[in-house]
Symmetry: C2
Amino acid sequence: MNAQPVVKFGRHALRASIAVSAVLAVTVLFAQAQQDPLPSWNDTVTKQAIVEFVTDTTKEGSPTFVPPAERIATFDQDGTLWVEHPMYSQVIYCLDRVPALVAEKPELKDVEPFKTVLTGDREAIAKLPMEELEKLLAATLTGMTVDVFQAEVQKWIASAKDPRWKRPYTELTYKPMNELLGYLRDNGFKTYIVTGGGQDFVRVYSEKTYGIPPEQVVGSAGGTTYTYGKDGNPILTKEPKLLLNDNNAGKPEGIHLMIGRRPVFAAGNSSGDREMLEYTEAGEGPRFAMLLLHDDAEREYAYGPAQGLPDTKVGTFPQELYDEAMKDGWLVVSMKKDWGQILAPGQ
Amino acid sequence: MNAQPVVKFGRHALRASIAVSAVLAVTVLFAQAQQDPLPSWNDTVTKQAIVEFVTDTTKEGSPTFVPPAERIATFDQDGTLWVEHPMYSQVIYCLDRVPALVAEKPELKDVEPFKTVLTGDREAIAKLPMEELEKLLAATLTGMTVDVFQAEVQKWIASAKDPRWKRPYTELTYKPMNELLGYLRDNGFKTYIVTGGGQDFVRVYSEKTYGIPPEQVVGSAGGTTYTYGKDGNPILTKEPKLLLNDNNAGKPEGIHLMIGRRPVFAAGNSSGDREMLEYTEAGEGPRFAMLLLHDDAEREYAYGPAQGLPDTKVGTFPQELYDEAMKDGWLVVSMKKDWGQILAPGQ
């Protein structure tokens, strides 16, 4: 692709070109297209960059055309597709499961970390050491059949509510990102979730929530064991054996394992996504790396050094990540400036 | 589905019903459909069973209708989609790689198993102990970047030829099975390969050979490691660390890991496929488990106790597997009786 025009939000991007008459261009583009596929995005250079990339990679005969089979788009979930603060939803699930677990096994009620979790004291819970947290995850995410786990998550998803918005967690998705997923799919991209969260957990609601089928969810994954139940029927049991830690370097490794192609488009919001964005952007031809900034304390949350705020354990975003994005020309999205709406209205 | 008609080649199949006027029914069916989607299949009860299953699971309003999203079909590769005798093609690849490997690392030429492989003495090679074979696989399938590996396999696939047919290995696919893959896809099924062979190996040619994209190939898979090359660009290196041994119980475990849904349709030909067929067949609602018999010594190969022949290490098929298929009503396909043509004509 060297001698051809480069549509690439990466090392060689002609970023200056984007800034020219952005609003006008977007207006003209959508006047032609009749309908704006990204109505929750403000008419900024960011939106224009997305529309230009999709247009240039999907127009037959374009020098930066990408064949449909290669249009792989990967999205981090927590903090990229839905709210991750103050705590990852899956961790809330694990905490919420403890009372039922202790009811089944009363001997756990005086054992850490279950004892602390049962007090409901979120500050004390937040201070639990990593090895205690791992016990919590193992006890609530493994040891049951995949069918039982799926049913438990389904039930929780249907009833649990986020305390700030008093709405189910699956309603706390970002409307602009759901529009982007749909826009990419309408243009022949295959959309994937590539999450540090549990693959089996996210697969329960991904189709309904994001239009992404279970087989297009890559996440942290444990092994299962195939045995036969009392009735002779096969059973798959979730084991506390980690096969893929789908964070940091684990993201491109997981993409290779589960998809086998390098993405053309990737979006993330924290240091756990860094390697996925680098890997995507380093491919030949047109590539798009998008990094989301949580900079809207009023409508959502603001965190991290890029906001002049202390970094956080949930969705870490060190200054170096921002510097790398700037240096390599990834598209940085400001939730505050680029998004007209963040959450879809309550139902 | 209990009170509804069961279209299931499984424990409760009404196998007797299939046998009634099969040829006539197939003829009528295709007279209506105008074009036979399975022209290389003889007009037997086997073909009728396939057509009936696909018709009954895809007709809107049918009591055994399967929604498109759930139409997952999984196929073993070696011996199910292409020839596996006298030796798995990937093993031939590993053997063929040895001279190039020794040219790069001359110190290997006096070390086992490379020393024996270099003699070209297939009988001596066949006697190499498992631990030596594992060294061979590790040396030829790992230690390079995923891109280098892909290029090497590509080159081999384009030039290597099977000694019996003097044709590239990718031409030794079964025409009836390729038709079946296409027929299922035309009816909204998502077709997957679920192979004991190397996932990275099969992904190189799966799209061109079977119309199955890399992301729909589940196979034995090793880990990779993400690092940066001298130019600072990301590199994924194949490691000799097995993440998934996609044989026997590893097949349903791999299906859960990589697809996350239980197949509706599965096909295999050896004991390595047993658990995949059981797992598929044990799901609720309509399911189809197909077991292929290698019983045509003239046009392909005949092997295994079900043919009254000794079992083989390549594509083992013990008598118990045949008995289980009979007991549980899996559809057993005879290559000799059910296939009008086995290989596509040479090009």
